[in-house]
Amino acid sequence: MKQSPVPARRMIWLVLGHVAWAAGFVALYAGLSIGCEYGWHVMELAGGVSVQRAMLIVLFLATLAATSVIAFLSWRRWSAARTKTAAAAPAPFLEWASFISSLTAVAAAIVSLAPSFVLTTCY
């Protein structure tokens, strides 16, 4: 049987950004809960920053980095697909949708997880 010109695995890119967001979201929530339980918020790391806050910021930045990298790679794939005149349907659609979907994941990461920087953690 001939290989598909648009393998099914390309569909994964539609959700990859959001999978990264969801993983970061769960990690932050779990980290926060565990930290609050074990008092990491009252353990100072340096310069008045608690272990809890540092951990949350690292997790937030990691989520942002992951979603951004996925968005960048999706953009490159989309750019390649739209310049290729003979790209088989639905490759251009899939790459466009993957790119926009990844962008929404970046936005979701910023809006939903940025409170890690400022809000009190365990009260």
């Binding site: 099914a8 959700v15 639905p90 949708a97 929404t104």
Partner: protein, 841 residues
């Protein structure tokens, strides 16, 4: 064999196909597996449950119409409101959307049926029997009474000692089997069983909506199934998962429930929105605007909806920063919802709308749903939520969202598609007064609840004092409720009149451009005499022209061959024809299997735990007997599919629907397992009364032995597949695979009996018990899979080309090895985690 069958005239072709695909008469109908029959059964049954739920709502409104009402006592009221929520959510909304998807998807996608027709039938019977158990319990006065979300400890044995909570836990889990079956079936069908040429970007938008919904069900339902199992085990055997005095935590139930419960709202809304996205462009005479933007919005919505489960738990003592995460995500989800609403408005604005009856109900949907969405954003804000939590404001909000977002679109869909289902057009105009009664009655009922809620009236109280400003609002609500009911009664009368006196028509009365209107109406059992080719977006087709061509057999598979029920599977992305799927014919096995499952559920309900093994064994035997009519004993090679093309049967290719079915089954199972891991770690991190009195000493010998057995089982099955591919015999490897699984089971059972502390003593021990039991159960089934592969090869169903049975087994063995290893390693590490937790504190 490999010559294309002779082309017949349309009438002869219809007769031959009908003889193969029809569901028979009389008692034979019980063995129907056809999606048209089962889709209608689902929808009619769901509507019956809707009527039951509606009567319960009337009882609630009768009770609350006046203060100090003596109509019902508190205990009865608890049963009534619990049953109202349970019936509407689990027995009406989800099955109705499943029924609509089961009925319409193959027609819209250009297929003859869904991927697993017998699974559809099994799902229907499980739904019917599960729902019946719950309703019978209500009639017997032992209905669930802890609220539709069954919070512990209220639903735990000490506070709900009767059988009421067990009815919910067992009955709903029975119904959930149906939902997960349907979700897997819908996912695989959308991805594989489309008309040739229908690439993903040409799929009708309802297909996208249902694909996203079905995937959400696959990942959303398992947490609830797990929670129900854990609570039932706690109630039956005293394993303290939710008992804080022994290391459990009620909050775990709330987490697991809402991990299901919030996505559930979108699972209900999205198919209805999909129906709107199909209907509105036709009546606006303009293709759907923003097709691609809607697809991205759906994906975003699906993920965000999972990330906001805690917004139902804002008052349960969760850290404020976490509340901020969930509050922000809850507000965010309004954006993809808004994108859809703007796409519909743009479609209307750029079209020439016809204000037909379905449009009236869409108008109702837009008004009511947008209002519900706005109160949803209000409730997403933590400070407001704390004020309004558990008041009638929330009741108003959820009804605006669910009735606005599901019932109004479904009524629009009913009026739009009834001609397709019945072959008749309405002759009376009862639909218009019905709409206004429903619209006015609904708003009168539920708008008042915003005010009573803001005035502090709590939910789930069976009475309230006079003279605090709630009485006249409640009276108006109750009057509105009865007006709403009159509207629904008029709707039912209207539908009956349409069925009885409706005007027959030929085809496509709305001038729609989708494939379900390219069929004769009412549709034949085989849907299309030949399968269409789609070369543009599948909502802009010329249904009239295509209908005549397809009926004449001028598409793919325009013939009847060997009495086979054939449909085409395509490449997932491009829609290129890939293989012929040979579907199983009518069978009573789904009915018998669901009866056996029902026997198992009832045995547990009546606490005949030992006896429950009998129906359980019967389920296994029946499940294995499903395979007796599938498979082929010889390699056929590619066969003609029409239009001069050839394709192999699904037994001879690598990505058959059943292989994908197992993949998605394992996704669902994996989500259940992940929820179990979450539960274990949650209890370790958060629950009170840790560390446990004893952690037991599992040592390293037994775990290493189990891990080796898992690795051996997975590895030997891969070797069996490889040997088979080379034309050799896989029997030795399969026997070794079964032996490895049985070894793992023996060691795991030994660990459970001898190493794990008494599981009733502490949640730690209960969690270890369940983790090991999960691994043992999967390994037992792994042995069955290995034995099954052995037998299939011996009987000639497996060859180097036909290796589907072995490859499906491989998926199971790999999954078992992976999850089993994680479970065992976690049990080994648990004492260290406990020690770490004790040190930290």
């Amino acid at each position: 064999m490999n010559r294309e069958p002779e082309r017949l005239n349309p009438i002869a072709l219809h007769r031959q196909l009908a003889a193969i695909w029809d569901s028979g008469k009389g008692l034979q109908r019980l063995g129907a597996v056809n999606h048209t029959v089962l889709g209608k059964r689902f929808m009619v049954t769901a509507f019956v449950f809707f009527a039951i739920g509606g009567v319960l709502a009337m009882l609630i409104r009768a009770q609350l119409a006046t203060p100090h009402s003596a109509f019902m006592d508190a205990a009865t009221y608890n049963q009534i409101f619990t049953m109202h929520g349970t019936v509407m959510m689990f027995l009406f909304a989800i099955p109705m959307l499943e029924g609509a998807a089961i009925y319409f998807l193959p027609k819209m996608l250009g297929a003859r049926d869904l991927a697993f027709p017998r699974l559809t039938a099994l799902g229907y019977w499980c739904y019917l029997f599960g729902g019946t158990i719950i309703i019978v319990a209500m009639l017997a006065g032992v209905a669930p009474d802890s609220g539709w979300f069954m919070y512990t400890p209220l639903s735990s044995r000490p506070f709900s000692p009767g059988v009421n909570a067990d009815v919910w836990l067992l009955g709903i889990t029975f119904v959930e089997i149906s939902a997960v079956c349907a979700a897997i079936e819908i996912t695989v069908s959308i991805l594989k069983l489309r008309a040739p040429g229908m690439s993903l970007d040409k799929m009708p938008i309802f297909g996208w909506y249902m694909l996203v919904t079905a995937l959400m069900m696959i990942f959303g339902f398992p947490p609830l199934i797990l929670a129900s199992i854990l609570l039932e085990v706690e109630r039956a055997f005293d394993f303290p998962f939710f008992d804080p005095t022994r290391g459990g935590d009620s909050l775990l139930w709330a987490h697991l429930f809402w991990l299901f419960g919030h996505p559930e709202v979108y699972i209900i809304f999205l198919p209805a929105a999909g129906a709107v996205s199909m209907i509105l462009p036709v009546l606006a005479r303009n293709p759907l605007m923003g097709y691609r933007a809607i697809i991205v919005a759906l994906i975003a919505m699906a993920f965000l909806s999972f990330g906001i489960w805690v917004h139902h738990m804002f008052t349960l003592g969760i850290p404020h920063l976490a509340l901020a995460f969930f509050s922000a995500a809850s507000a965010l989800v309004a954006i993809p919802t808004g994108i859809q609403i703007f796409a519909w408005i743009a479609t209307l604005a750029h079209g020439r709308p016809r204000f037909e009856i379905p449009m009236l109900y869409i108008f109702g949907f837009l008004v009511v749903f947008v209002a519900g969405g706005l109160t949803g954003v209000m409730l997403a804000m933590v400070p407001f939520n704390w004020q309004a939590h558990d008041t009638h404001f929330v009741v108003a909000h959820l009804h605006y969202v669910l009735v606005g977002g599901f019932v109004f679109p479904m009524l629009a869909a009913a009026y739009y598609w009834l001609p397709q289902v019945t072959g008749r057009l309405p002759v009376f105009k009862l639909s218009i007064p019905a709409f206004w009664l429903i619209f006015i009655g609904f708003n009168m009922t539920f708008f008042m609840m915003h005010i009573t809620g803001l005035r502090g009236m709590p939910r789930r109280v069976f009475t309230y004092p006079a003279d605090i400003g709630w009485d006249w609002l409640n009276l108006l609500s109750s009057v509105g409720g009865f007006i709403l009911t009159m509207g629904f009664a008029l709707f039912v009368i209207d539908v009956v009149l349409q069925l009885r006196f409706g005007k027959p028509f030929r085809r496509n009365p709305w001038g729609a451009g989708t494939l379900e209107w390219a069929q004769p109406t009412p549709p034949p059992s085989y849907n299309f005499a030949s399968l269409p080719t789609v070369d543009r977006r599948a909502d802009t087709l010329d249904a009239g022209r295509m209908g005549a061509e397809l009926a004449g057999g001028r598409g793919y598979l325009g013939f009847a061959r060997n009495g086979w029920m054939e449909t085409l599977a395509v490449d997932m992305t491009t829609g290129r024809p890939e293989h012929v799927v040979l579907l199983p014919n009518n069978s009573m096995l789904p009915l018998w299997t669901s009866l056996a499952i029902g026997g198992f559920v009832l045995s547990l309900l009546f606490q005949f735990y030992l006896f429950s093994l009998v129906p359980l064994a019967l389920v296994l035997v029946l499940a294995l007997s499903w395979t007796r009519t599938t498979g082929q004993r010889a390699d056929r090679g590619p066969i003609p599919i029409g239009r001069g093309e050839m394709a192999p049967t699904h037994y001879e290719i690598s990505g058959a629907p059943s292989w994908w079915g197992m993949v998605f089954t394992l996704f669902a199972n994996g989500t259940l397992f992940a929820s179990l891991l979450f539960g274990a770690l949650f209890l370790w991190a958060v629950a009170p009364n840790w560390p446990p009195p004893s952690t037991g000493e599992i040592g390293l010998v037994a775990p290493v032995l189990v891990l080796l057995a898992f690795a051996l089982a997975a590895g030997t099955n891969h070797l069996a597949v490889a040997a088979n591919r080379r034309g050799g015999s896989p029997l030795l490897w399969l026997a070794l695979c079964a032996a490895a699984h049985l070894t793992a089971v023996i060691v795991l059972v030994w660990c459970i009996r001898n190493v794990v502390p008494d599981p009733t003593s502490h949640a730690y021990a209960a969690v270890c018990f369940i983790l090991l039991a999960y691994a043992a159960l999967h390994s037992s089934l792994g042995a069955v899979f290995a034995f099954y592969g052995f037998e299939r090869f011996r009987q000639g169903y497996v060859s180097a080309v036909r290796s589907l049975d072995l490859r499906i087994g491989s998926l199971w063995h790999d999954y078992t090895a992976g999850t089993g290893a994680i479970a065992v390693i976690l049990v080994v590490l648990m004492p260290a985690l406990v020690a770490m937790g004790a040190w930290q504190q």
